[in-house]
Amino acid sequence: MEKSSHRASAGTGLKVFFTIVCFSLSIKGFSADGQSYKEFIEWIEKKPPEIEVSNQGTLLTIDDKDDILNALIPSPAWEYYIFADMEMTVVPKGYYPSPPSWGRGSQEGILDENGVLVGFTGGGFPFPKVVENDPLAGQKVVWNMLWRPGQHDFDMPMTTWLRSENGKLDRKMEFTGVSSTYARGEKCLVEGYEEVKSKRIMEFRSPRDMAGAKDMSISYVDHYRENSGWVYMPSQRKPRRTLASERTSELMGMDLIREDMNGFSGKIYENDWDYLGKRKVLATMNVKDNPEAGGPHLWVPHKTRWEVRDAHVVLINPKDSDHPYMARIVLIDSETYWTLWMFGFDRKDEMLLRMNQHYLKYSESYALETPQQAPFVEQDYSKNVGSFVFLHLGESDINAKKPHGTVTHCYTRKREFSSARARQFYSLRNMVSGRR
């Protein structure tokens, strides 16, 4: 592994001066640490420098802050991701093909007047080519993200650490998500369920006050139809119907709202859209293992593998004036359509409110390097190889205003349900009883 060679940026001095001025004047919408909406837009518009990356990996440290890190880490995240003893190993951009059958038999997507994808049933990207000057490019990128390969079909035990500043651990939770894609293009996983896009069941294991709580969610091909959901609470010993259309409350004490999941999990028609072009950005694209937590608050990945990726930058403005965000900016990998970074800006002062950043691993890498097992269950990861999809290994979610952070590790195993097993497992019958 090589240490990065520093190449001084011409504008470094100017940037420092600008930063000091902003801080001194306390102008609304500007901050000393790049967390304002305006500063982030400026960051997006700047062309970053090309960096040399060795095949063995190039180590970036705090010494690379001005030349490389500030240019390739989104400005709202600088405060958390650039720290004294940081170590990022940047490797050359990888090649990650989709499954061989991906897109075969899948039809091109059609958007209605609200930008909503209609008549599409999966099996490929709805918009294999997104043209930058397309006025609907933002929506199309997000539709590709929502229908990307590897979105579902896994067993995913997870551990989540919820931490205050200075790494104080407030809560640790263990839970498992299991999900399956139903809409697969020409065929549906379970015949007769063609209206279903995917189904998911998530069950908590600890702490004990949440143990056994589980929820089932059904999402539909028709984007206008809200998800169906039930939650089983051991204290009640029966399932309870849940509401899907409230998406802006923080979840389970974590530093994200339901709409933040995967960067954006809301309704297309509830927002205005702008495509801001492509931007090079550092991403934990194909990490070796679930990264250790670092930074002053243990909120971010540390000593892990990064790549410089080309990302679509999509600006999402909620139409609802009560929405906590005045704007959400999502950076989505331009080849794989996985969300790399998400930033939500507070409606009150246009400063960063929440952000998330995702750790991914390509399924074929499991043949060479196996990530750690979940602390509470051992799985056979060898089945991941041959899937040709990315697997989610976790994420950092930060609430900048509290401030507070949530780090999640996912221990993902690809799982293909048979039609019969899916019919049995993802059923309301499975929600009438639980761990206790």
């Binding site: 205050s164 004990r208 119907r241 509401l243 923080e250 507070h404």
Partner: protein
């Protein structure tokens, strides 16, 4: 005795301290066994009319829950092919309780006695123990368990399969902890999608021979004894033809014995029809509420003592019900719930002066038919000035109970009063009377709100309000849970009972029956420490 108390309290806190140092969330034994549970120290201070205070509970509960995954993905013990059985687990839940308040109060004022077979002092039992078998499309749960049907919270219509233990803290606990688990078989056949239905299944429950009634404490020395609306005393006298006699009760328990012919069972079909999640339910069992048949024909008077024979009966009961819920996402952003039942075999008391056409057996007892309709709404709601980052979960329900075979001679809650002869109270003599005419239609309205604050949502306030609009009796609870760590939970609860007007106790055991103006005021403050793992 104080030494014993100090030892027990000290031991509990020492265990808490030691265990909180480093304990895993769930203890795994090998790959297939998991152990979890909690130790709860619950202290309740009763503040009658807010004029005085008395400790009524110092309950220490240890619950251990284990699960053994002995069959996974068609492999038993990881070695043998299990044929059609895809998964199997064994769950055991054991609970031990020690309430030191009986020791404390005995040593202080003797008011709370433990001479009643030490009931309430110790408890140790296997609460639940069942085998889960998954044989798609069947699933079976066999053993001692809880089964809950229906959509109602906090009141019972379809949720009648397991009785409740109301003896130690009425219904003011999580019902998971006060339901009395029964030995039964629960089978579910998953149907899935057919015709216009989705997510459908058929469920059957069979309780071969394990009937238990709701458990209520009547000994006034128990802190949560149900003593009616009068004095917290046991009646020891009776007026016979205007003369005061000593009363001796000959109570004969005629509740169903553990025999197959006393089996109970039911079935339901649950499905989704056009986004409406509904179920059709039927249960054939026994009323868990115990009725009292007064057998004057067997009673006798010898000297000044009248021996009254009372039979405790739990009539056979049919319960037919319909439930539905619907998530209305567009206009109200609410989940709407509904439950309605028709029940037979409801035991009711009849006034002694009822005419023979109402009480032909002259036993002051009858069974009635009753309907229930419950309508509810749940809504996650933003109240941003109170909580800018998380919604409040608001839930409200209206519960309407209607007697089909109503008689104005039906009676509700009895009361114990001082015996008065010639205008003078007779010392040490108490008699029971029942002037509480129940209503043909009974209502209760509930409202609850909860949210969370702080980093990781560790501070969880909650509020409960229930009111009977006819009697104007109401109940309020303010609660606050604080998770000091993943293992230690601190709980605070303040309960109030009150009424707006009148003296009607109402049928729901809330309101002024335990409120401010009666002689049985039960406002209370509860502080609990829970160590969970």
């Amino acid at each position: 005795m104080p030494t014993k108390l100090n030892f027990s309290v000290g031991a509990v806190f020492t265990v808490l301290l030691v265990l909180s140092i480093d304990v895993k969330a769930v203890v795994s034994i090998g790959k297939d066994i998991e152990l979890e549970g909690f130790l709860k120290v619950q202290n309740i201070l009763r503040t009658p009319k807010f004029k005085e205070a008395e400790a009524i509970m110092q309950r220490n509960t240890l619950q251990l829950e284990s699960k053994y995954y002995f069959l996974k993905e068609g492999q038993m013990f990881g070695k043998f092919d299990s044929g059609p059985i895809e998964e199997a687990t064994l769950t055991l839940v054991g609970r031990g309780v020690y309430d030191s308040i009986y020791e404390i109060r005995n040593s202080l004022d003797g008011k709370f006695s433990n001479d009643n077979g030490k009931q309430g002092l110790y408890e140790a039992n296997l609460r639940e123990g069942y085998l889960d078998l998954v044989l798609p499309p069947f699933s079976l749960r066999i053993g001692r368990q809880q089964v809950v049907w229906g959509e109602t919270d906090g009141f019972r219509a379809l949720d009648v399969i397991n009785p409740l233990d109301l003896s130690w803290h009425w219904s003011r606990e999580y019902w998971e902890d006060i339901r009395i688990p029964l030995w039964m078989v629960r089978g579910i056949y998953d149907i899935g999608k057919f015709s216009v239905f989705e997510e459908s299944f058929f469920e059957a429950v069979w309780i071969p021979a394990d009937f238990r009634p709701n458990k209520i404490a009547i000994n006034p020395s128990r802190p949560w004894a149900f003593t009616g609306t009068g004095l917290a005393k046991t009646p020891n006298s009776i007026f016979i033809d205007g003369n005061l006699r000593d009363l001796e009760l000959d109570v004969r328990d005629l509740s169903p014995r553990k025999r197959l012919r006393n089996g109970q069972g039911g079935a339901r079909f649950k499905a989704i029809w056009g986004d409406i999640d509904f179920s059709l339910n039927y249960f054939y069992g026994f009323s868990a509420d115990t009725g009292v048949r007064v057998r004057d024909d067997l009673s006798s008077t010898l000297g000044n003592t009248h021996t009254s024979v009372r039979e405790l009966v739990n009539p056979r009961s049919h319960v037919v019900g319909l439930t539905a819920n619907y998530s209305e996402e567009r206009y109200t952003q609410s989940v709407l719930r509904m439950e309605t039942t028709f029940s037979t075999g409801i035991p009711v008391k009849i006034s002694p002066d009822a005419p023979s056409r109402i009480d032909p057996d002259r036993d002051q007892f009858d069974t009635a038919r009753r309907t229930v309709l419950m309508l509810a709404v749940d809504r996650p709601t933003w109240i941003r000035w109170l909580n800018p980052t998380r919604t409040f979960y608001l839930s409200s329900q209206v519960f309407w109970r209607h007697y089909i075979d109503y008689s104005r001679f039906y009676r509700g809650i009895s009361s114990v009063e001082h015996a008065v002869v010639n205008g003078e109270p007779v010392g040490g003599k108490f008699f029971s009377e029942n002037n509480d005419q129940i209503d043909k239609d009974e209502f209760v309205i509930t409202f609850s709100a909860s949210t969370s604050y702080g980093p990781a949502g560790l501070i969880k306030p909650n509020f409960v309000f229930a009111i009977d609009p006819r009697s104007t009796g109401a109940y309020n609870k303010f609660g606050l849970d604080y998770f000091w760590s993943d293992h230690v939970l601190l709980k605070f609860e303040q309960s109030f009972y009150w009424r707006a007007a009148g003296h009607d106790p109402g049928p729901w055991a809330l309101g002024d029956i335990w409120g401010h103006t009666t002689r049985n005021s039960r406002h209370e403050t509860a502080l609990s420490v829970v160590f969970q793992f």
